[in-house]
Symmetry: D2
Subunit: 341 residues, 4 copies
């Protein structure tokens, strides 16, 4: 950690900062600059966070050298975390496609959608039983009945289920049904919920908050990992920016950036990111091209009658056409060594 | 509601949109433009939201004419909501000052801070017992013990308490202690929590989410109001923007904008917005100058040893000096008719 | 155009709005709603912009139905604009790769870089002779000498040149050298410069401003098109958002969105968007996967000694490796009909 | 400057970084950390910018200790820059009010508006003769005729003139008329224009770009100061954020922040920031409350017939009412020592 002192900080205050560093078991370094004094701290600087050195009047700035997360970083695990779900492995070579309707609306709707995505090659079924909605007057999900329908769809198609849990209160029920517990973007910093899913042993798909930096996303993953649950999948689903041309702004650059910063797999949700059906296929292909370990795509048997987010759900035909292109793209970019001989 | 059809939308699809509007009890209007057909819907267009007309392939755009909230809007209550807490009334002429430490850290720290803010003229005591922290390794609050200390501080100073509730699970305990239930920015769209506080009869201070628009804030207030709790105080506390010059960007323009859009009181938190002690006083004065009904200011007896957010907490002396300026400003801007004769 | 009147707007003011619409040659429609009166205007609503109806106290909101641009929109040209430069055609099937150093620094540096990108398959050479720099103390470009070096590099490699023009004053010199005139992001709304390049007959590559919406980008293109220059290439190069994880946030969703809104070609600059060498290849592949008509990639023979933006410039080897992958990706996604039989 | 090396950077590369620092006349410091090696550079680190150390593969991050600007910073001038214009002094105690129409539209319009703002107490007249407009089809200003009308308004009212210069080509004409040269937000990084106004001896009002950080704003001021023109006034006029509730988001926190970082005066434009007439007065009062050295307010004798931005222009009555409140606020916040005895 580098601590820049304010100009003209009195020697006694510089010494007290150095003493505080020593007291935490780190080695302080005194670096007198031309305009300002700088203090370095050598050792695991994360213990210094408690000191809140920024709050001292004599301190200008504190610049960390290390990342604030431990378990989520590459340092703690130089390999990649691979998460097996049903017959697929998320985080390994081949991208995994999760697809299905935004919300579970009815038995017919869910089963028709599940069959369609299965037949087009999806490996995991998505569908929300508990729906976070901006308006209290909108459809809020079928809740426990929705979970039962998801179980029925799994039984019929064999597809594992990813579904959202909104609150610790619902966790036992959702945990019984889900193969992957989804934490939505609005809950990325619902720390109580993160701690609770950290106690389960179900894989967790953590969506990036609408205004979360990469470090904030990884700190939220750290909550789950610190609870002992090592199966965290990150998900980019678009951020809030000045642009209103799309529902959110899909920030694909974090895909290769996260490859460098963490061992956790990263998937992309082009449906919520764009909010526009016509943009889902091109952005899904782009996500695969830049290295996403998977996709979450909304597909509805009849999007025009969907109870939520119909604008962004693909029809079964559109999804099948996309899957065919995705397969070509993945094959073209696969490292030559992995091609069948 | 105005529905713009895509260019060359077939007549049958235009008719089906008009029929859907009629079926919901509204009156459709056919407006053939030069390039595109436009359909108007006359009546309470909010019932049309369920139709998800945007998801129809033949529809280009849907433009609402009315606001999406009902109870939070000026239409439902032309006057202003005034919320009595202890001896003060939030939402009426004189701004109400809430102050105290970011977190309850210890008996001594809380009581010293409470006495200081009381003595400087604050009317409500703030202090977090449950703290949402980005890192799982940071101090997470004293929880129930913190609530007891807040009760003790209230008993001694007579100041009512505003404190954050993070999760429905903690609500019974927090509700017993708090005079105002604070919903933090990260929980602005924790809809379950909103619904639960909507069932209580305690005033709720709802902080604007870091990337929430004014309509999204009012829709979250609507969740509480729809539960039957009419005592909602809105709080602007800074938004996420490209600017990293301050911790967040304080968006004071929403203060007069909310005066126009809602009957609910609006207060401002300059401490979290700026994250820098030196900016708190000028931004607090600015908030009062543009019409805030109150302020929430972080004050700590010893900010340099604070366990969280020490950088943004005022010392008791700084707070007292601010309160003196605030009083002059409020007196200067008060309507002449209210001046003593 | 849809004009929503304020609640309780007096009949005389409603009539005056309708009269103003009639006076402009459009047909007004009176739509009395339950809460508010709405007025529609049928005809080419763009002439209404001059009326500034928003500024009337009785008007609540004005919602345009048509896009504000004419020449840049799909309506004015249902086909696609294809721009021939040297032997390639920008906007047609095969993506065009522009590559070269950020700045022209010296004869040796430029020629080595030009040979490298030519040899790896680039079709157009980029290089800045006039550099917009945040600091007045940074290298500002070789200016006219840089233009001469670009001409020499073209003579040797046969690659056409794209280079930035910063100011109308430099336009005659840059126009003599450049095969494509580049307008940088900071100049996207330098309207005088746009008008001047609109008078030339050289293709113009217009970069999206760091905080420009798609409509603002197309309005800037409209300035060039309105001058009679029909050869405009749009370029996405990242926008300013709250995220500081990358230099800018690459907004790839605008690629397929612009395919729908305009007939102009759209290329992507992953170098400025990410600012990080390791992210250039994955984001360049993503841009191709979502349909970009071309790329602009910074390549420097020796990035570690570059005078500007060394962090984001590829080495020749990295570029050659990327080009090989790009070729596989483009072949995989090409429509089957174009595959050799 | 602090240079963080990548993990496992080879000793030879660490040495080459240290040698490069020495070669620039600074003193390198070797700081071996637990995970990463850090190198400090002692001396005027701004000369290291040319090294572009970030572009070395062995370097992880470069963290500057000093601000990138010299002339604009407090270090270069501990006092405050005060700029005399006509009879007023911008940057000293009493805030200076600039007011007038957005654009000069006609002799009658300008003179009526000028008389109105003069009579209400404004000290400087604003009015655009050259207008930057998003659309090529909008009114672009009266240009040279507009300048003549401004001269006539000055002759009649005695008010000095602030007016925008869009391009170096127009500078001689604008310089002859203007008492203050305004650089608009879209031109904040038009470096050629900055350099040209830096050669004049007229005060320059530099508006913050819509996505510019404080450091970027001060670097643009540095261009003018480096040219020898020491009379730079900064202007906050709103930034682009995700919020579309107001035209831009007024970022008032930069007012006290700039007081700390620079000796240059800072004024606020609440008209462009909000884009809504009803918000201008409260935000103008807020700007004064947090320490702005002045305001630029749009006032039009007949806003409902304005040729641009009518929505945000005050009527003369509204402006007079605001000025009365502003006087009360300024008196209330003035330091007691300055009150007349």
């Amino acid at each position: 950690m580098i601590i820049v002192m304010r100009k003209n900080a009195p020697p006694a205050e510089v010494e007290s900062v150095m003493a505080a560093i020593t007291a935490k078991g780190l080695k302080p370094l005194y670096l007198p600059g031309v305009e300002k004094i700088v203090i370095g701290a050598i050792g695991d600087e994360r213990v210094l966070a408690e000191l809140e050195l920024e709050s001292l009047p004599c301190v200008d700035r504190v610049m960390p050298v290390l990342a604030p997360y431990k378990l989520a970083g590459r340092e703690s695990q130089p390999g990649r975390t691979v998460i097996p779900v049903g017959g697929v492995r998320i985080g390994e070579g081949r991208p995994v496609i999760m697809a299905g309707p935004c919300a579970v609306e009815s038995r017919e709707q869910l089963l028709a959608s599940a069959r369609a995505v299965k037949s087009a090659g999806a490996q995991i079924l998505r569908g929300g039983a508990y729906k976070p909605r901006t308006s209290p007057y909108s459809f809020q999900g079928l809740e426990e009945e929705g979970l039962s329908l998801l179980e029925e769809a799994r039984a019929e198609t064999g597809l594992p289920i990813v579904t959202e849990v909104l609150d610790p209160h619902d966790l036992p029920a959702v945990e019984r049904t889900a193969d992957i517990l989804q934490i939505g973007a609005r809950n990325m910093q619902n720390f109580r919920l993160l701690r609770e899913v950290g106690k389960t042993r179900k894989p967790v798909m953590l969506k990036r908050g609408m205004s979360a930096t990469v470090d904030e996303l990884l700190m939220s993953a750290e909550y789950v990992l610190a609870g002992g649950n090592e199966q965290v999948i990150l998900c980019e689903r678009g951020i809030k920016t000045f642009s209103t041309d799309t529902r959110n702004t899909l920030d694909l650059s974090v895909v290769p950036l996260l490859h460098q910063k963490t061992h956790l797999p990263i998937v992309v949700d082009p449906s919520h990111a764009t909010g526009l059906r016509n943009l889902v296929e091109p952005m899904a292909l782009a996500a695969l091209a830049c290295g996403a370990h998977g996709l979450m795509v909304e597909v509805h048997a009849h999007p025009e009658s969907a109870k939520c987010d119909g604008m962004q759900q693909l029809t079964p035909d559109q999804f099948a056409s996309f899957m065919e292109k995705a397969a070509r793209l993945v094959a073209a970019l696969a490292p030559p060594a992995r091609l069948p001989k």
